[in-house]
Symmetry: C2
Subunit: 131 residues, 2 copies
DNA sequence: CTTCCTCTTCGAGTACGCTCGAAGTCAACC
DNA sequence: GGTTGACTTCGAGCGTACTCGAAGAGGAAG
């Protein structure tokens, strides 16, 4: 039994669509070393495979949680350096997660002050209505 | 009975200390219209009063929750325009609060993907230990 | 009076993360 | 063969939010 390798692949614009980044940004991520050099077709055009898309998906989560491009590059370099870097990757991600949790707490704390101010303006509105 | 106006006031560096911003940033906030022009002493030096400090405190909460400087200026302008702008202020702050809540949700969502990745690396660690 | 310190204004510089324009290549379609 | 459209690289430009350096003024202490 022979299996045909029907490797799915995406052009830069398809990949951009798939991961929610612009084509500019995808090329820039590659240039910045956030993803390994993307494979090319015979005409030199990028072909993103499923693994590339998956990794870009993770990168967008990291960016979405505020990781700096510098740290994303550090993580990407660890991944490229092979299986001997699991501990370092774990440390990087755990450090990031802790910072994100702190950030969420800070947002909630600061939001309380805003909510208090909102309640003041709501109180003024009620006064207006009662007069 | 006469009361002496013991108005507390702060130099730019004291104000910076009090609100947790740099002196550069405080001067810049004034220049950008995020606070009303700060009073000066006879030598032309800024004197921040309690109200200024309080307003700066609110501004830091707004910045801390990711409000843009442009929106902070809009809010400051509404405050300076007097009591007729309560509705507009409320609308601005409520819109902001909604965006912050969405942001917190997005952080939590994206963090789940990171946590999943962390759990994968933890699993690898356990494999190593068991071999 | 001199030194020291903090303040002033002004404009320039920095860091980050994209975002874009220009010029050119290549495959596909008519 | 010509046109179209998506792609390539390169370097430049942009928006946001500060951050800083330089030059000078003014008050307080020795």
């Amino acid at each position: 039994m022979t299996t045909v390798e029907t490797t799915v692949s995406y052009s830069v614009s398809e990949a951009a669509e798939a991961v929610g980044l612009s084509t500019y940004t995808l090329r820039w991520y590659e240039q910045e070393g956030l993803v390994e050099p993307i494979g090319r077709d015979s005409a030199g055009r990028r072909r993103y495979n499923a693994g590339d898309i998956g990794f870009l998906g993770l990168l967008t989560k990291l960016r979405g949680t505020g990781m700096s491009v510098a740290d994303m590059r550090r993580y990407a370099e660890l991944v490229r350096s092979g299986t001997g870097t699991y501990d370092a990757r774990l440390e990087l991600l755990e450090g990031h997660r802790d910072r994100v949790l702190e950030r969420i707490d800070a947002l909630k704390r600061d939001l309380e002050a805003v909510d208090f101010k909102i309640s003041m303006y709501r109180a003024y509105q009620c006064q207006e209505q009662s007069s």
